[in-house]
Amino acid sequence: MPVSVVHGHKVWQRRDRATALKHWLGWIVGVCLFMVCWRIIAGATNWFFVWDAPRQGSEFFGRLFPPEWSYVVELGRPFWDTLNMATLGTLISVVIALPIAVLTARNTTPHPLLRALGLLIIVVSRSVNSLIWALLLVAILGPGVLAGVLAIALRSIGFVGKLFYEAIEEVNPAPIEAITATGASPTQILSYAILPQVLPSLVGVSVFRWDINLRESTVIGLVGAGGLGLQLDAAVNALQWPRASLIFLVILLLVLLSEATSARVRRSIT
C-alpha cells in the first residue's frame, strides 16, 4: 500500500509516486492535445458569425414558426419513401448479413479464410456511414429511392452482421452436441440447434437497426437519395423555413413512432 510520511505520521495515499506521476502526465498530454485541437478549430472559425449567433438564433426560430401546415399534403409521398427505404434496406441487409454471420462466427465458420473475408466485409460496411454510401450510389445509380434503399442496406450489413455473429458465438454448445449426436447434417444443426437459440436476438437486432435506419433515411435524401431529406434539402436551400419546420415535425413523429414500435417488439421478445 502506498504510504507517505508527513511529520513522522504515516499517511495513506491512493497511488504511489510513480503511478501518480504517470497519471498527471496522462492528464497533461490529454489537455495539451485538446488545446491544440481547439486551436485548429478556432482558427478555422469565423468568430464574427459566432458572436452573432444569439441574434441569428432568435431570428431563425422566428422564421421557423409557424410551420406551413398546408405543405403537409406534399409530404405524404416522401414519408412513404422514407419508411420504405428504412424497411426494405433493413430487410435486404438482414438477408445478406445472415449467411455472412454464419460464415464469420467462430463456431460455425467452414474455414478461417472465409471468417477473415466476413470480418473484412463487416468492417468496411460499418466504417462507411449510410450518407457516404448514398453519395456513392447516387453517383452510380442516379438520384432516387433505389439508391437510398441500397445505401441503408449496405451500411446495415456490417452492423447487423456483427451483432448476428456475436450472438451465434455465444450460443450454448450443449444443444449443438445433442443434435450432432443424432447424425444431423450441418444445415440441420444450423436450423435445429443454433437458429432457435439466436432467433430472439436476431429479431431484436433487426428491429433495433430498423429504428436506427428510419432516422438515417430521413437525412440521406440530402445527397439525393429520396425521401424526406430531399424535401428538407429543397426547403433549406430555398430558405423556406416554415416548410423546413414542418418537415422537422414530421421527422419527430416518425422517430417517436419507430422508437415506440421497436421498444414494444423488443420487450415482447425478451
Binding site: 478555422a44 453517383a139 452510380i140 442516379g142 430472439p200 422537422f248 421527422i251 422517430v255
Partner: protein, 272 residues
C-alpha cells in the same frame, strides 16, 4: 377388413419447432400484412432501369478507383479535411463528456429529485431524436459554416448517447455502497464522488471510447451540410465523378475508423 399396417410403416408424426409467435391468428395476420406491405413498397419503388444500366459502367470506374486510389492530386484538401475531422472528434468528445456527466447524473432516478430527472431526461430525448446531420443544419445556421458547427453538433449528439447510458449504468449499480456512504451523512457531491464514480468510472471510460469512435464516423459526414471535416471534400469528389479521389478519402476514413476501433478496444480491455 382392415389392412394391417406394419409397425415400421406407421406414419410418424413429424416434430417441428414451436413458432416464434404462439397465437396463429396474430402470426398469419402479421405475415399477410407484411406481404401486402412489401407488395405496396416494391410497386411504388420507382426504378429508372435505363439510368441503372447506364450506371453500371460507372460502377466499374468506382471499382477501378478503389484499385488505384488517387491520394496525390488533391492531397492538400484531403489532408486538411482529415485533420479537421480528427480535431473535431477530439474536441467534441471532450465537450460532450463534460456536458454528459452532469446530465447523466441528473437523469439517474436513484440520485435526483423528480423535476431535475425530468429535465435531464428531456435533454437526452431531444439530443437523441434528430440525426446528426439535421442538428448540423441548425448549428450551421447559428454559427456559420466551418468546423465549430460540427463540433457543437457532435457534442450535442454525444449527450444523447453518453448521458443516457451513464444514467442507465448508475441506476443499475449496486445500491449497498450508496446507502453506506449516505448513512455517514455525506453530502450529494460526496455521495457522487465516493459511491457512484468508483463504480461507474470504468464503464464511463468505455462509453467515451465508443463515442469517440462514433464521433469520428459522423465527423466525416456533417461536412455535407457545411459543418466542416472531410465530408465536403468527399461530396465534391463524388459530384465531379472523381472516383479515384473519393476512393482515397474512403480508404483513409476506413483506416482511421479501424485504427480507433482497435485502440478503443485495447483501452476498454485494459480498464475493465
Amino acid at each position: 377388413m382392415k389392412a394391417k399396417v406394419p409397425l415400421s410403416h406407421a406414419p410418424c408424426p413429424r416434430w417441428s419447432p414451436p413458432p416464434l409467435i404462439a397465437n396463429p391468428l396474430l402470426r398469419w395476420g402479421l405475415l399477410l400484412m407484411g406481404g401486402l406491405y412489401l407488395l405496396a413498397a416494391f410497386s411504388t419503388l420507382e426504378i429508372n432501369w435505363e439510368r441503372v444500366a447506364a450506371g453500371m459502367s460507372r460502377s466499374l470506374q468506382v471499382f477501378a478507383g478503389f484499385l488505384q486510389p488517387d491520394f496525390a492530386s488533391r492531397w492538400w484538401e484531403i489532408q486538411s479535411g482529415v485533420l479537421e475531422s480528427l480535431t473535431m472528434t477530439v474536441v467534441a468528445t471532450v465537450i460532450g463528456t463534460a456536458l454528459s456527466v452532469p446530465i447523466g447524473l441528473g437523469a439517474a432516478r436513484t440520485l435526483t429529485p423528480l423535476p431535475v430527472y425530468l429535465f435531464c431526461r428531456g435533454m437526452i430525448a431531444l439530443a437523441r431524436t434528430f440525426q446528426e446531420v439535421i442538428i448540423a443544419i441548425f448549428f450551421v445556421v447559428l454559427v456559420g459554416f466551418g468546423p465549430l458547427a460540427g463540433v457543437l453538433t457532435l457534442s450535442f449528439a454525444s449527450i444523447g448517447f453518453l448521458a443516457k447510458l451513464l444514467a442507465e449504468e448508475i441506476e443499475a449499480m449496486q445500491p449497498a455502497p450508496l446507502e453506506a456512504i449516505r448513512t455517514t451523512g455525506a453530502s450529494w457531491l460526496q455521495l457522487v464522488t465516493y459511491a457512484v464514480m468508483p463504480q461507474v468510472l470504468p464503464r464511463l471510460v468505455g462509453l467515451i471510447t465508443y463515442r469517440f469512435d462514433i464521433n469520428l464516423r459522423e465527423s466525416a459526414i456533417v461536412g455535407v451540410v457545411g459543418a466542416g471535416g472531410i465530408g465536403a471534400t468527399l461530396q465534391t469528389a463524388f459530384s465531379r465523378y472523381d472516383f479515384d479521389v473519393a476512393a482515397a478519402i474512403l480508404l483513409i476514413i476506413i483506416g482511421l475508423v479501424w485504427a480507433t476501433e482497435v485502440g478503443a478496444g485495447a483501452i476498454r480491455r485494459r480498464i475493465q
